[in-house]
Symmetry: C2
Subunit: 169 residues, 2 copies
């Protein structure tokens, strides 16, 4: 049985190492290490997606794919399901994890929010890579209102949201 | 249930990224990324070692610790036990894995041997870090005669080897 903490420990070390090597881009710039982490997540997500049983690759609807991310992928990586899934029915989905494992060990003060993006980039890539293998081209961004956080998948943006939480269980 | 391939995919990406960033040190030099990977492995090994149940932290003999590495640690990380454990009874141990997961996907020609060290550095650190948490200061090196390979733990070196494989089962 694999130790579930192994991935978390390795992810922490990877973030720390890439962040330390990366010079500060100055005001308004983005750290290169965020793009590197997102790219690594993308390729790991692609590889995980290719390991799926064939029958799961014939999803009937986009929503089936999102449900797969919220259940199967999240359990495979984080040992828990996503807490909620919402959509505006225009191609934008919001996946909410109220105890995201890669953030949950951080202190929860607002002053740590600026540290959050480096712990989210890999997972944004992971979702984008898995979606790519499943034939969905996507843009994945993450928002943190309070620690811990939720990844947000955006293909398009709309004002109205329908709660699909029940589909996640 | 965690996907056992997740660690392997992430490790592969990490090695590729650090290796690509690292300039060639020239003849006789060592790539900095090998030291970085070893250091990351060390810290992950320390963290895994700290997660052990307390009763396992009171090993009676050094050999108990080595058996723990061969069984519990290896299963936690690689989902298999080490294939054999030998010692010269002078503080040197040879741990042999005949199908080391981080190398087993490589083509097995001798021409790939020079690529092997970058896939072994993290695991050498992992063993050294776990041993450190268990109170054993060690030097861990890896040798590959044919792919796949075995990590070798060296505290001292002697010419004669005693096969302790049975202690590993």
């Amino acid at each position: 049985m694999a130790d579930p903490a192994l991935f978390e420990f390795l992810h922490t070390e990877m973030v720390a190492e890439l962040w330390a090597q990366d010079p500060d881009p100055g005001p308004g710039g983005q750290k290169t290490s965020l793009l590197v982490l997102e790219g690594m997540g993308f390729r790991v997500g692609q590889a995980l997606g290719e390991r799926l049983p064939r029958e799961t690759l014939t999803f009937r609807e986009e929503l089936d794919i999102l449900k797969f991310l919220c259940k199967d992928l999240w359990v495979a990586v984080f040992h828990k399901q996503m807490d909620s899934l919402r959509t505006n029915h225009q191609g934008t989905y919001v996946l909410q994890d109220n105890s995201f494992p890669l953030l949950v060990r951080m202190a929860s003060g607002l002053q740590y929010l600026e540290e959050a993006p480096k712990f989210l980039a890999f997972t944004c890539g992971l979702l984008r890579g898995t979606l790519s293998t499943l034939g969905v081209k996507s843009l994945v961004t993450a928002s943190v209102a309070a620690l811990p956080a939720w990844p947000r998948i955006t293909e398009d943006w709309g004002p109205s949201w329908h709660d699909l939480s029940h589909t996640c269980h």
